[in-house]
Amino acid sequence: MAILEEPIKEVKTIKNFIGGEWVESKGEIKDVVNPATGKAIARVPISTKEEIEAAIEAAKEAFPDWRRTTPLSRTRRLFRLKELLEENFEEISRIQTQEHGKTIDESRGETRRGIENVEVACGIPTLMQGYFSEDIAAGIDEWVIPTPLGVFGIIGPFNFPFMIPLWSAPYAVATGNCVIVKPSSEDPNSQIRLAELVDEAGFPPGVWNVVNGGRTVVSSLLEHPGIAGIAFVGSTPTAKIIYKGCGETGKRVIAQGGAKNFMAVMPDANVSATIPALMTSFFGNTGQRCLSGAVLVIVGEDDSFYNDFMDKVVAAVSRIIIGYGLDDSVQMGPLRDKEKKERVLGYIESGIQQGAKLRLDGRGKVKIVGDYPQTCFLGPTIFENVTPEMKIGSEEIFGPVMSVMRAKNLDEAIEIANANPFGNGNAIFTSSGKSAREFQYQITSGNVGINIGIVAPMAFFPFSGMKDSFFGTLHTQGREAVRFFTESKVVIQRWL
């Protein structure tokens, strides 16, 4: 067992990055705790209204010059940032493991997907081109110019602290806007490291700002007339507040919420390939992601297929190695904090109370590789005989819990999934093209997987979502992000 070196070695108080300067906050300070070791690794400020307003002013001041900076010149900063991210890839990844608890493979995966968004945004000179029609009437031409809007707020969640702000920020600045990133106060360190690299890459002061904090920062971003729009990823209740608040103040909004993802397994699925995919889907990131599998729906009335498949799933899940993610033999880390573990335990209790069959119990003393406190660790749990009426069958648990249902046929499986209020990342496992097509056609889900357990769109595709999983019109990533961060200015010209 070898533990990779921790990049954060001393507890420092994090500063805000405003107008190109690292500024100490006057707000309350709270500890950032490594969930695996239980040790504080940093102190994060809960910034004040005055501090977020100072950041908005700095961004507003930077905007006119940044807008006039050519797209190629803006892109050169992004290319430089990409290089710096590659050079610091391992450090950034280990910071995520240290502050979030995910495994090192998961953190490296997160870093890579974040960088991919920077790479895609490097194509902005062509991505933000407008279009032109000559002679819409005699001697009259018409064209559209995508123009930046000003200052955007980017609010990140705790579960992918590095990657998710990068679904938006590179596109925002590439198109000529300025941003204020509010990282999750639970694990802000990778965003701080990112801002240091942004600074090193040569972005002008005020173009990229970071303000740490909580509700005060979010409310100020929502209310301030100087903010053109907000990109938010988090829980559905907060996404609704953000969406409503942006509507009231006339801001653009991307509000990505929670999920309850259904994984339908057909009797013709390739079992040996499906099971590892399900492991990642249900237990990767300790179940703390909006694309995690939540409900396994085994399709068909063949009891022997069901029993055989479930025996294999339970055997595979029972073997999952749990521990500190910087030990690279570990397959599942802790939950982010004790409160999140308590919440998941509450759902497990409700599953038992509501009559589901507890096939694998993750409660109690967790077998951990290494000597770490049990505080945030929870073993994987499997429930069978789950119904859509049960809380564990309908609500987002955000933890390592698999709820298993059965459906007579594909139609019933789709019906069960579609009846759920969320629609984020549902998938089918099958070797039938017909079943796959029917599933992707009928399912109301923003992201659809066919033999893929985590339906994470690449940076050049939108990260979609439907129903209670998404509020807004355009999405983060790729061309839709470019649209979101630009307004179409239409010009009609006649020379007299």
């Binding site: 493979d105 998961e106 490296r108 995966g109 890579r112 992918f160 990131n285 397959q331």
Partner: protein, 147 residues
């Protein structure tokens, strides 16, 4: 201890290639007549290790089975890389071929286990298996020459 995660496998790959490189460095010093060949193997070892790492870091993502792709027992690929003081040329080449067999088996098993799951990494493994076939042929021809 079984290895399951991609990170473990990449680390093990690095270890295999480093050990193999050290073996050929020692061989180049002991049998100077084929120094160039053995040192070219050392160079290849470093290249293979770098290729695998580059591939892994280039495609690793949270969307694939990084933590669940493998079930590999490292003991199955263990080899003795240290040469006795008075080893003959033929014995040393035999040892080299044993080492190559073990390493080829590792890469083949790792590629097979991950081929339907991981992106690009199994292809990098399979490519190294193919290239290593050339090394085995070279070792065989050296053995024929020396015998």
């Amino acid at each position: 201890m079984q290895m399951h995660t991609c990170s473990q496998i990449i680390g093990f790959t690095r270890e295999l290639e480093n050990t193999s490189a050290k073996f050929y460095e020692a061989l180049s010093q002991k049998f100077a007549k084929e120094e160039d060949v053995f040192l070219s193997f050392v160079k290849e070892n470093k290249k293979y290790s770098a290729e695998v790492e580059r591939t892994y870091y280039g495609v690793i993502t949270d969307a694939i089975e990084g933590c669940f792709a493998f079930d590999i027992n490292p003991d199955e690929y263990a080899f003795q890389a240290e040469l006795p003081e008075k080893v003959s040329y033929a014995e040393a080449l035999d040892r080299a071929m044993e080492i190559e067999d073990k390493i080829i088996k590792f890469y083949s098993d790792a590629a097979e286990q991950s081929k339907s799951l991981m992106a690009d990494v199994p292809r990098a493994f399979a490519m190294i298996v193919k290239k290593r076939g050339g090394r085995v042929s070279m070792l065989q021809s050296l053995l024929g020459k020396g015998a």
